[in-house]
Structures are given as structure tokens and as C-alpha cells.
């Protein structure tokens, strides 16, 4: 399942909604990305996160389908937020549900790598006096 939304999310609720559908799940690996107070040695105030929504759905679906096939996942969940996000807020959640843990770990890392590389989101990071558009290729990809 893919959700692109402005509002935040509750990890327990989002995960239970999926988990409740399947009694054969033994393992869940999940990743949460947060807005940090410091990036590239600059004090961050907030982010403005922009999305090309129609394309983001398509790209994330492709990545999700690839991971599901490759690692026989039972279910997946990707939530990506957009809009104004202040320090400490959640940005993204990726969940990979499988029978055994190795598959969920590998799939979750794979989805995050491709999400960072291809999903059409852009962070405009606001510091106290100026702002800057980030690029993942320059970050710790």
C-alpha cells in the first residue's frame, strides 16, 4: 500500500492495519526517516517537501512490486509525507512484512535505496536565514 499525504501517521496504527490481515507474518522490518536539526552543518528550521504526486505513486508502485516479487513479501506499506515538516517530524515510513527476517531486512533497504534515487520528492530545507534544495546524490545515498 502506498500513501502520499500531508498529515503525520501513527506507527502502531498503520502497522496493525496491515498486520491484522495476515497471520503468516513472522517478521516486519520498518524504516522511519525524520527531519534532523542539523544537515550539512547547518541548523535546520523546517523542510518544505514537494512531490510530483501522480509520478510518485507510479514509481513507488514499481519499487514495491519489484521488492515483493524478489523477496516474496507478504505485504508492504510506504507512507511519504509532503508539505511543511519541522525538525523531529516523520517524513517517510517503509514497512516490509515477510515470513522470515532476512527477506524483510533486505527488501526494506532496497525500497529505501530506490525511493531515495527515483521517487519524485524534493526537500527545500529552510535554515534561519536562507534555504536550499537538497539532492540525494550529494547526500549519504
Amino acid at each position: 500500500m502506498i500513501k502520499i499525504q500531508k498529515k503525520s501517521f501513527n506507527l502502531e496504527e498503520e502497522i496493525e492495519k496491515i498486520k491484522n490481515k495476515h497471520s503468516d507474518i513472522g517478521a516486519l522490518t520498518s524504516f522511519v526517516g525524520y527531519v534532523r536539526d542539523l544537515n550539512n552543518n547547518k541548523d535546520v528550521n523546517y523542510l518544505n517537501l514537494e512531490v510530483y504526486e501522480e509520478m510518485a505513486f507510479k514509481e513507488l508502485s514499481k519499487i514495491e512490486n519489484n521488492a515483493t516479487k524478489k523477496w516474496s513479501l507478504i505485504d508492504t506499506l510506504i507512507i511519504h509525507r509532503y508539505g511543511k515538516l519541522t525538525v523531529n517530524e516523520k517524513i517517510v515510513l517503509v514497512c516490509c512484512f515477510s515470513q522470515h527476517r532476512k527477506n524483510s531486512f533486505e527488501a526494506c533497504e532496497y525500497i529505501m535505496d530506490y525511493l531515495k534515487k527515483d521517487a519524485p520528492f524534493w526537500k527545500n530545507e529552510f535554515y534561519y536565514k536562507n534555504n536550499e534544495w537538497l539532492e540525494n546524490s550529494k547526500q549519504s545515498f
Binding site: 517537501l49 509520478m55 524534493w122 527545500n124 540525494n136 550529494k138
Partner: protein, 81 residues
């Protein structure tokens, strides 16, 4: 043909999108020429090869043919996640 701009590309174009109704570019290369003419600042970025193009929400790299109903998006390297 609709051309959509994102992130700092939009800071250059000063708008979200352009719609080309007549004499639309037939290829991606023709579209680049068209945009360089309209927004001269884009030229240096096209030359640096950092800009990404999507046609109908799919990444494209080769110089494919464009149709009047296509939605083309132009944007810098992504930074989601």
C-alpha cells in the same frame, strides 16, 4: 502538451507549468531548444546533464517522439526519503 516544472526548475520558470497548444515540439531535443529559448537560464543546467525528464510520469532518457497529449515533467535530482 503540458510541461510541468518542479523544485528549483520552477524557481527559474516562475510557474508550475506551460501548455503548448500549437507547433508543439516533436522530440525531447526540440523541447529542450524550446525551453532554452523561453528560459535562457535553463541552458546551463541542460548542459550539465543534471535535469531529469519524465513523459507521462515515466523517466525518459533517449530522445523519444512526443505527442500533443503528453505530460512532460522537468525536474532536478530528487531528495525524498
Amino acid at each position: 502538451m503540458k510541461i510541468r516544472y518542479f523544485a528549483w526548475i520552477r524557481d527559474i520558470t516562475k510557474k508550475d507549468n506551460d501548455v503548448i497548444d500549437i507547433n508543439h515540439p516533436k522530440t525531447l531535443e526540440e523541447l529542450k531548444d524550446y525551453l532554452e529559448n523561453m528560459y535562457p537560464e535553463l541552458k546551463k543546467h541542460f548542459l550539465q546533464d543534471v535535469i531529469r525528464f519524465a513523459v507521462n510520469q515515466e523517466y525518459v532518457s533517449k530522445n523519444l517522439n512526443l505527442k500533443p497529449i503528453d505530460e512532460i515533467a522537468i525536474f532536478p535530482p530528487v531528495s525524498g526519503g
